[in-house]
């Protein structure tokens, strides 16, 4: 019910104040293209030979142990980290810092309760915080619309530091949507949220991509909250990577190959549990938990 409501308002964001602007991307249109992409720091290869084309509206879940290069992948997509090899383009052009084609949702962090900034100001920074000068009054309607779209209108004027983790993440999503991105990069947005908030935030991101046509790259340790929405999984492992629908990638043989050590994937009541038996995999238990 809540999802439906969110969807409705999100469409109004898309068609609202700026109706002549094109939809962030047409369904099925490729938004992100990685060709034979690789990233290495000196001898340490995080990933290589990565081929991935992500279409508008697609939900890609990026999984992998710590240090497998998930965050570095996001940094590359944000234009903050050049590839070591291969090609990368977002809507046909190489990524550059501050591109308005990409929106970024970080992990939830506790903000100082006295940080003098309200929810609406955080969203406003997403619109023009990267420009020089003081900035004029205005954009109020746009900010209100964005906040309404994520169901955060009730606490628009509350200092961000006083919001709960789930509320903060809603505001974060509104902020990321401010530039009408065609690619939404989510960097562990569920971390430190309880299960209920994890489900709400994930449902909101799913509603967002359906309404705006933005593709989603969702980096997470928590597979289960995103599983119902995931179109494809990108699994970055110590011994290579795998791309495909969750049922094809999240299998014992494939993960065993990716980790180079026995891994078992269990499914129960629609949930996935990944179990391994050495130090390599403690984070995986976390992932399945």
């Amino acid at each position: 019910m809540h999802q439906g409501a969110a969807r409705g308002t999100l469409s109004s964001v898309r068609n609202g104040s700026d109706s002549h602007s094109p939809l962030s991307a047409r369904p099925g249109e490729p938004v992100l293209r990685l060709e034979d992409a690789g990233l290495a720091f000196g001898d340490r290869v995080l990933w290589s030979g990565l081929d991935l084309v992500v279409s508008a509206g697609e939900f890609i879940t990026v999984l992998g142990p710590n240090g497998s290069g998930k965050t570095t992948l996001l940094r590359a997509l944000l234009g903050m980290q050049p590839l070591s090899s291969g090609r990368l383009s977002i809507r046909g052009a190489p990524p550059h810092r501050g591109s308005r084609h990409t929106g970024y949702v970080p992990q939830q962090r506790s903000l100082d309760p006295v940080t003098p900034i309200r929810a609406r100001d955080l969203v406003r920074l997403g619109i023009d915080g990267d420009r020089w000068g003081v900035g004029r009054h205005g954009h109020r309607a746009e900010v209100d619309e964005l906040l309404a779209a994520v169901g955060a209108s009730a606490y628009a004027d509350v200092p961000v530091g006083l919001l709960s983790g789930g509320e903060q993440q809603r505001v974060r999503i509104a902020q990321a949507l401010a530039s009408r991105p065609s690619l939404l990069l989510c960097d562990e947005p569920l971390l430190s949220l309880d299960l209920r908030r994890q489900q709400e935030v994930t449902a909101l991101i799913d509603a967002t991509r359906r309404a705006t046509g933005a593709a989603v790259l969702f980096v997470t340790h928590e597979i289960n909250p995103v599983l119902p929405y995931t179109d494809r999984v990108l699994y970055l492992g110590p011994h290579g990577h795998a791309v495909g629908p969750p049922d094809e990638v999240l299998t014992s043989p494939r993960l065993t190959a990716l980790y180079g050590t026995p891994i078992e994937v269990l499914r129960a009541q629609g949930r996935v549990l990944i179990v391994g038996d050495d130090a390599h995999t403690h984070h995986l238990e976390e992932a399945g938990a």
């Binding site: 501050g98 309760p113 003098p116 000068g133 509320e167």
Partner: protein, 310 residues
């Protein structure tokens, strides 16, 4: 010397408004300097709060003191000396202390070094003791015209600089990770702000002295953030509070035979106390009218979490 237990004598040393009209023109320059400092301190303080740089301000002011003392010893312009000292400290802290923990230890190392250097220079300085003491705890003597002009130039640079980088600096200060992802040059801005901060500190040292710089660079902004979270109201209130403290302090101190800084610091502190009590009452009651509405959005049975300030 007046007896230390005579309250009447104390009072007349602290507050003496005889010949007030005749004295007022004498502090004309001090008032201008105070007004400039209020503007700079109020604005810079907002970012000092956002960037959690209170300790850095203190560290920079000690090196500014060292620079001013050295200038006194070598008969160079004192403002120039304190500007060079605080710029050096600010740039060092900016370069070496990107992370908070690093930064605090670097400041902790720089601060006593600067203070010691300043003490050495003052010990070697043959001039009047009041001049020496003034650099640490504030000036008694009137500010001369050259010093006011120097402060006006610094004010122009600091305020102009802040207005230019206001939005991205705010973004980089309150939300550094997303700001960097949105292409805001966070490291450059951090350096730019440290330079502006160094200039502001050098200016404050002239009036309130190195030890009391925080009273105009933190307290007004801290008071403002207690009662508002609006990015427009906080700087306005902060400047207002800093002006009241700086100008009010100078006017109260006019006939007194003690430095102006205790008046400034006390006014500044009282404003903060009032704002703090208003702010904590507001937090206890819940910020604005959100409680009921937020609950509805957030799912039944889950009251919104409001972290108390205290």
């Amino acid at each position: 010397m007046t007896s230390v237990v005579d309250p009447g004598a104390w009072w007349s040393r602290l507050f003496d408004f005889t010949d007030y009209g005749a004295l007022l023109p004498l502090v004309h320059n001090s008032l201008i300097a105070g007004a400039l400092l209020g503007l700079v301190g109020g604005l810079v303080g907002v970012f000092v709060m956002q960037r959690d740089l209170a300790f850095a301000v203190h560290g920079v002011s000690e090196l500014s003191f060292a620079g001013a003392s050295a200038a006194l010893l070598f008969s160079v312009d004192v403002v120039l000396g304190s500007v060079l000292g605080s710029l050096l400290a600010a740039v060092l802290i900016g370069l070496l202390g990107a992370r908070a923990r690093d930064r605090n230890s670097i400041i902790g190392v720089l601060m006593p070094f600067g203070l010691g250097l300043g003490v050495l220079c003052l010990a070697l300085y043959p001039g009047r003791a009041a001049n020496k003491f003034g650099l640490l705890t504030g000036q008694i003597v009137a500010v001369d015209t050259t010093r006011v002009s120097a402060m006006a130039v610094i004010t122009l640079v600091v305020v102009g600089g802040l207005l230019l980088v206001w939005r991205p600096l705010t973004f980089a200060s309150v939300d550094p990770e997303v700001a960097a992802a949105r292409g805001v040059p966070t490291r450059t801005l951090s350096m730019v702000f440290m330079v502006l901060l160094g200039l502001a500190v050098a200016m404050a040292v002239q009036i309130v002295g190195a030890l009391l710089v925080l009273s105009l660079l933190i307290t007004p902004a801290a008071a403002a953030t207690q009662i508002s979270a609006s990015p427009r109201m906080v700087p306005l209130l902060s400047v207002l509070f800093a002006e009241v403290a700086a100008l009010g302090g100078i006017l109260l101190a006019l006939g007194a035979s003690v430095p102006i800084s205790p008046y400034i610091t006390t006014i500044s502190f009282l404003i903060w106390v009032v704002c703090r009590s208003v702010g904590s009452r507001r937090t206890r009651r819940g910020w604005s009218r959100r409680a009921a509405a937020a609950d509805e959005v957030d799912g039944a049975g889950h009251a919104p979490v409001a972290t108390p300030l205290g």
